[in-house]
Symmetry: D2
Subunit: 338 residues, 4 copies
Amino acid sequence: MYNFQHDYAEGAHPDILKKLVETNLVQQVGYGEDEYSLQAKTLIRQKVKNDKAAIYFVSGGTQANLMVISALLKTHEGVISAETGHISSNETGAIEAVGHKVMTIQTADGKLAPEHIQKVQKVYSKRPHVLKPKMVYISNSTEIGTIYSKAELTALSAYCRANGLILFLDGARLGSALTAKENDLTLPEISALTDVFYIGGTKNGALLGEAIVFNDPELAPEFDYVVKQKGAMLAKGRLLGIQFLELFKGELFLELAQHANDMATMLAEGMSKKGVDFYMKHESNQLFPILSNERLNRLRNNFLFHDWVEIDEQHTAIRLVTSWATLEEEVVAFLEEL
Amino acid sequence: MYNFQHDYAEGAHPDILKKLVETNLVQQVGYGEDEYSLQAKTLIRQKVKNDKAAIYFVSGGTQANLMVISALLKTHEGVISAETGHISSNETGAIEAVGHKVMTIQTADGKLAPEHIQKVQKVYSKRPHVLKPKMVYISNSTEIGTIYSKAELTALSAYCRANGLILFLDGARLGSALTAKENDLTLPEISALTDVFYIGGTKNGALLGEAIVFNDPELAPEFDYVVKQKGAMLAKGRLLGIQFLELFKGELFLELAQHANDMATMLAEGMSKKGVDFYMKHESNQLFPILSNERLNRLRNNFLFHDWVEIDEQHTAIRLVTSWATLEEEVVAFLEEL
Amino acid sequence: MYNFQHDYAEGAHPDILKKLVETNLVQQVGYGEDEYSLQAKTLIRQKVKNDKAAIYFVSGGTQANLMVISALLKTHEGVISAETGHISSNETGAIEAVGHKVMTIQTADGKLAPEHIQKVQKVYSKRPHVLKPKMVYISNSTEIGTIYSKAELTALSAYCRANGLILFLDGARLGSALTAKENDLTLPEISALTDVFYIGGTKNGALLGEAIVFNDPELAPEFDYVVKQKGAMLAKGRLLGIQFLELFKGELFLELAQHANDMATMLAEGMSKKGVDFYMKHESNQLFPILSNERLNRLRNNFLFHDWVEIDEQHTAIRLVTSWATLEEEVVAFLEEL
Amino acid sequence: MYNFQHDYAEGAHPDILKKLVETNLVQQVGYGEDEYSLQAKTLIRQKVKNDKAAIYFVSGGTQANLMVISALLKTHEGVISAETGHISSNETGAIEAVGHKVMTIQTADGKLAPEHIQKVQKVYSKRPHVLKPKMVYISNSTEIGTIYSKAELTALSAYCRANGLILFLDGARLGSALTAKENDLTLPEISALTDVFYIGGTKNGALLGEAIVFNDPELAPEFDYVVKQKGAMLAKGRLLGIQFLELFKGELFLELAQHANDMATMLAEGMSKKGVDFYMKHESNQLFPILSNERLNRLRNNFLFHDWVEIDEQHTAIRLVTSWATLEEEVVAFLEEL
């Protein structure tokens, strides 16, 4: 059985494990003040070209989302998200549990544009009987595999700045977005166009870890308290620091994402050649082919994947996810089996 | 500089890293359903002699505390803790942030007895103008290094059961308690006498990880939702599973704790011989010697430790913590330097 | 200017004020234990034909909603509501602020049926990555003036009971529902078919006040704590008790609602005769006529009402609300002006 | 039986009821935008001599406290209070339920001075493992009847401003404080020395109502959202507006409080003459005489009061509270009975 269900089926890139082993007995202070974390933060500041960025390493995306949102919103403020946004659809009410409503809007492709924001603002205009929309949450790549172009992110950023809205980008799969064929955004641009974002390690070769980047440190100058309060501050912060040190000391972060995308492209092109249609345009490391249930049942003998949505009685769109560790031979095998 | 500040200055026991490396590319499903986590849970059920216990692995103690408490308490219920209890003194209001008051009481040794609970219940008796005390939170070993005897835990457990109170034991340093010289409790007894407790990995040789054990699975039959909601469910749950698999497949968990205690005893006996007094009786891997500030300033050149409390103008009680990785030669060096 | 904006433009029915004046200097104990509150609770138990019902008086609907929901749901549970439901559309995130997601679904008429619940349950089925739907929130009459028939409420109640869902009915305008022309439900039936509901005083002749009724007192045996915690327990509970004592000692509650409905019917029939169409079928004391903007602008000179929704460039649906105090002459004047 | 248990045993001052009756059928818009509320706010701005103050009327003290605190504190901030402070001892965890810890300190007289604040700041200095103290909560008069002098409040205010702490004064019994014999503070001074405070109506002749005053409207420019979210915005806001209109259009507020204090003084002096000792110095409308249990048992036949604290096996300190409505003849009767 080969697993195309998600991009966290394997452990970590071997360089990360090697560094963990090498540094294992070097004593370090706790709670993220270790030298590996400090070095990794310096590297990321260089990569985003912002030497004043405030960076925090935490263990997962839900954690990152609930902390950023609870640190930045007041009790009467809400966060706008696409209906497909992770905070709306996949986090067990984590945002509501810290007191804030997720104001959702349907989109064609999982991406938000200024017109979506305007619609939500209109729905939430009867002050004080409704919450105040104060933050815009987006994901890049999105939960359905699409990516933002530079023009799209620039327009959204300008709208948010003109309207006093905080722009927060969930980058759990940012590597895959940045190395997508049609991508025209760079990491420094992502940083310049958003107020806060994070760089996902867990889905791109780390054992765990997301690096939250506040582009302006004054946005959340006391975020360290929040990290501790929400149970996200690891005693052995070195574990997180080492993940990002290895991913960012060279180009490993982008190389791993590139591999995932290459494998996805290979899968997509192979399927297209066989006449397969897609539920959502392929852009990054998530694919949503539409297949007959009969064909799917055969594939299930050797492959794991998620059923995404029923198209009709005979057809289902599935989700295939590739990763830094996806084996080319398994891609070939999948296409052959098809 | 040698670090006696805490028991998480190093990485993990080499067996854990070895297993991480060996299993690294074996594909697993996510979110704690991997085979290592399942095996580790089976092992722990055997060690606690309770084959129906429900077990969850999470990354740290604050996280464990806030999840257990928010899962088990209603909005109008509070949790009783010693003033020195971690949830009161060291977790940045994590429990209040999930909506519950920590009802504290001063104790001589960081331990709660039925008479403490009764006092708190009296303070909180003016229903409905005060919260209802519903849970008792204890730590073993405590935040000041003391341990519960079987008689003490039995009495507390009986009181809680007779009074409808949930007994929750924070075992961040449970290994050290169980291997302490004066300990007469076993892991199955801990399990039988409490409603829920956790076994700390982070401070006993794991990279990270606490194993929450609900002795009666009906106490929180839907705790998986809570783990996800609070951002504590790792995509690569294997990372946590492997920590506990290695700690519990043999006797590693107890052996590591025994080493920490042995080093602490060596330190304590060495200091006693030199006439040093202690702020708190030495029982586990935390020591609180009282030293002159002059002596301390000399020690600071080569050793890291926490200043705990000012005794008088010339003397301070410090905290020394030993761990699974503490080097005997550094203990000797510390005593010589003294 | 005459106000058709809402059903709380005037003070209270004169009988209530009279009783307030008469009893003003009689000393009473505080916090809802006064004799008027106790008598009023006895009366309501008789009216709902449930002598074990537990009743709490609070000052408003948002307060009632947030208390019932925070008392009955666990941290990982959510509440299902129509999109038009007051907790979703009009309470400034009150429910999210106490930690729970409102799971909304679009409906044609503001009412929920078993098939709506099933759809929401399907959306929230990926345990543990989504919340568990645990409560169904409905309003009768709804926020758009429709009412539940006995058959509808019976079906919904049966579905909830079969599926372990708590059924909570917001009765801020329950009087208007019970006295609607097409209503076939009685107060005892409302009580028997729901788990918890409330009887609105504020919008039916009281100065303030909603009477929360737990049909089974074991559902929330410690709700008094919650009332105090959320700031809803008035020191002078007599103020609330007297409202309900006067409304329920005879048939005042129903009479006042009947008047509101009669005025609404008069308005509706008058408009229908003039060929006016309605956005939503008229059933209770809220009307949603569609009028040309030109006509509306003329009406605005003498009448206050809410613009509800833009139908097209020339037409708008407005909301007219009648109350226990609506003057027949003003209804006539409105129809003439039209 | 005569009730000395609290200052809310009766209804409202007759002027308030009269105004309610007179204005009853005048239509008003809802949610606090009625003309009575607007007039009352103007009056209060004049009385506090601050024409830019932002004022909100809410129904009770717990509500006022939880709203001010949840509006002004960030998730990682806490509020300092005396142990006897209402938010700590009497509000069923209302503050914790909105996510914030109450950081308490023991005091001799229920009042906070800069040295208390410093001590708490020292306890909460281990950033980020503890919350950040950000607000100071005081009551005037306090929960044990004491009052702040101008010198005391000035010192505390200066300390808070120098240390970035918000000073919040709970004035549930502010009338009694301002009319106390030893008081040297005025309402404009209270306003100038605090950041936010409230003027209690409920315990000084209103049916219900506290007027929250933000001295600088920029401190909480969107507080209206919070009032709605927490269920504190009455549909018929006129009910609250009229209370304060009547209390403040002349000197009624102070006259009522003066009566309560006069009755307390008469009680205190009468008891002193009989050699009775007091648990706490008498300053306002709460008295804490120490009486033998035998004597108390006799008094219980005709009077209601609270047992405050057991002094020894034979003696108890009780609490007697006088109000705007206390009858002089009952004071005489109590003293005679004694």
